[in-house]
């Protein structure tokens, strides 16, 4: 019980390129070996009849071991319900779902899945360390409590009563609890909600270290910035469905860029935009003209060669703009890969 598994020895962190799924490495078969999560046509409906809420409405998703996946979507997109299904708190109304090649509940009972829950309550009468010891005692096996506290950056608050911990400190405790079993799959439901900027940064740094130990990490978030900073892959949900699924760079690239310039004419920028097939792409701001487009190189080339504009600035649309674009009601559905 007191020995730390070799995979957790500091200094043996594999280069991030090796965090790849270990396809076919297990004699038990590729399914159990490489797949952390496998969902096929998963539905979860609350209530029935006209008032039924389809919280998860037909999700197909396969996550390989070692992947870091951001689950993105606006409030009510079904992220939390989906995580509840993965944790076995609730069963799919239809469809099939396996976690590490077994039913979700079993994976949790064996300590193979850890989670930081948005709604995970703590007992206010216990200290941080007592909470850890009590939960550890309920696990089939676990690493030393001190080690988990250390890794979650909660060692210095070990003696503090939970009721005296700030929101960020309680979140660290939840994180330390999730690390106790050395889970293969770590689920985080908006882990940085309520944290200030610094706590947020520190949290992701510790999380990065955990990911480098080879864990599969799936986290739900509102912020595309967090997703792009930390994840390899983005799964975007809207109204209970998966609408986008692909590597971070590709997802962000689907967002538009802007070309801002000083307009020389002749003609108005709007006329030029229509000519280029970019209606509604023009905005005026502080005497400058801003075009929004996907192929900004072509646009810039056109503007410069025709002498219509000068003093060009090309910028990527902000991540928030991309997010709003992807989650808006008229966004196209489909996968990118």
């Amino acid at each position: 019980m007191n020995t730390t598994a070799p995979s957790t020895v500091p200094g043996t962190v594999p280069p991030s390129g090796q965090r790849s799924p270990a396809a076919g490495a297990d004699p038990a078969g590729p399914e159990t070996a490489a797949t952390a999560l496998h969902a096929t046509g998963v539905h979860r409906q609350f209530g029935s009849g006209a008032g039924a809420v389809r919280a998860v409405n037909g999700v197909d998703l396969q996550i390989q071991r070692g992947e870091i996946v951001a689950l993105l979507g606006p409030n009510g997109a079904g992220k939390t319900t989906f995580l509840d299904l993965v944790l076995g708190f609730t069963a799919p109304t239809s469809g099939s779902l396996t976690v590490l090649g077994m039913p979700p509940k079993q994976a949790v009972l064996e300590g193979r899945v850890g989670a930081v829950l948005q709604t995970g309550g703590l007992l206010s009468d216990l200290t941080v360390k007592e909470t850890m010891s009590m939960v550890a005692a309920c696990q089939p096996r676990h690493i030393p409590v001190e080690t988990a506290l250390e890794r979650a950056g909660a060692a210095q608050i070990a003696g503090r009563k939970v009721r005296k911990c700030s929101g960020g400190e309680q979140q660290r405790l939840r994180f330390a609890l999730a690390l106790l079993t050395e889970p293969d799959l770590l689920l985080l439901d908006e882990p940085t909600a309520g944290m200030d900027v610094r706590a947020r940064k520190e949290f992701w740094e510790t999380m990065q270290a955990e990911a480098e130990r080879g864990r599969t990490v799936v986290f739900a978030t509102h912020f595309l910035q967090e997703a792009s900073d930390f994840a390899d892959r983005i799964v975007l949900m809207r109204a209970g469905r998966k609408v986008v699924d692909g590597p971070v760079d590709e997802v962000i690239d689907t967002g538009h860029r802007t070309v801002s310039c000083v307009w020389d004419g002749p003609g108005t920028p709007e006329e030029a935009a229509v000519k280029l097939g970019l209606p509604d792409a023009v905005a005026h701001q502080n005497g400058r003209v801003r075009f929004t487009a996907q192929d900004t190189d072509r646009l810039a080339g056109f503007l410069l060669s025709t002498g219509l504009a000068h003093d060009l600035t090309i910028a990527a649309a902000s991540l928030d703009e991309v997010f709003l674009d992807l989650t808006s009601d008229d966004a196209t559905e489909g996968t990118l890969t």
């Binding site: 019980m1 043996t12 594999p14 609350f46 829950l117 709604t119 995970g120 703590l122 005692a137 309920c138």
Partner: protein, 283 residues
């Protein structure tokens, strides 16, 4: 993406059995959980005071130090009569408080946190039942011990464990009582409120002073009356102790006592059932 398998991942796949020592059995997990819960409850000073200290002090005041303490009543003394009453009071306080707080903890998300461990929901329930019985046993043991040293006595030795066991048994329906309060009102105030009402019920249960007349007629239909009469059965066999002299001694038949206990248990359970259906309707 590289296809190299990192030694870490390989280790994780092949080395499951030896990962962190021997795997704990379900039973060991439940006992460990119950142990922690026992520690938590025992160390909450406020509740331990009401569950253990207060009944003991009340017994000393009204039983041991009473002028009639050693006067014989049934198969024991006045002190014995008071002693049993106080164990019933302490034990019901214990079970209702623990069941109530257990429900609140679950509602406040601690259940989800434990849902991520090797403890099953059945294990959770079982652990809590063990703890509630363990805590309810504390006032019984303490008050009986103090009683045996201060003039409480039964005519026969078997009556001690029999009275104690009946007091413990009678406290079980009050776990449902505490649970019902928590499920209905979902707040800590409701659980403490339920404890407060328990004091009134204890008065009608004939625990603090022998009732007579109209009060006694009402009391017969209240929940603690049944379990108190049951716990006192070894001593009194149904006889109702009265402070007034003269008149024919009143007595409750065993069937009436059992009916009271069963009826209230069913009622408490029904309230719990309805309340929990309501609270989980969303799914």
């Amino acid at each position: 993406m590289s296809t190299t398998v990192s030694p870490q991942i390989q280790q994780r796949q092949y080395g499951q059995q030896g990962r962190h020592g021997r795997k704990r059995s379900r039973l060991r997990i439940i006992t460990a959980f119950a142990g922690w819960e026992f520690l938590r409850n025992a160390r909450m000073v406020e509740s331990t005071f009401f569950i253990v200290v207060l009944p003991t002090v009340l017994y000393l005041m009204f039983g041991a130090l009473s002028a009639f303490g050693e006067s014989p009543v049934g198969n024991g003394t006045i002190a014995t009569y008071n002693m049993t009453a106080m164990t019933v009071y302490g034990a019901t306080m214990a079970t209702s408080a623990i069941a109530g707080s257990a429900a609140l903890e679950r509602q406040q998300g601690w259940g989800r946190q434990l849902g991520l461990t090797g403890l099953t929901s059945t294990g959770y329930m079982l652990g809590k039942v063990l703890v509630a019985l363990g805590i309810a046993l504390m006032p019984i043991v303490v008050v009986f011990t103090v009683g045996s040293l201060t003039g409480a006595a039964f005519d026969e030795a078997w009556m001690w464990p029999a009275s104690g066991a009946l007091a413990l048994l009678g406290a079980i329906p009050f776990a449902l009582y505490g649970l019902a309060a928590a499920l209905l009102f979902r707040s800590e105030a409701a659980v403490s409120g339920a404890s407060g009402i328990l004091v009134v019920l204890a008065f009608f249960g004939n625990l603090f002073m022998p009732l007579s007349g109209t009060l006694l007629e009402i009391a017969r239909f209240t929940p603690i009356y049944g379990i108190a009469a049951l716990a006192r059965w070894p001593q009194l066999e149904g006889t109702v102790v009265s402070m007034e002299d003269g008149g024919a001694p009143i007595s409750d038949p065993l069937w009436a006592i059992v009916l009271n206990v069963v009826a209230w248990t069913v009622l408490f359970a029904a309230i719990c059932l309805v309340a929990s259906r309501r609270s989980t309707r969303r799914g």
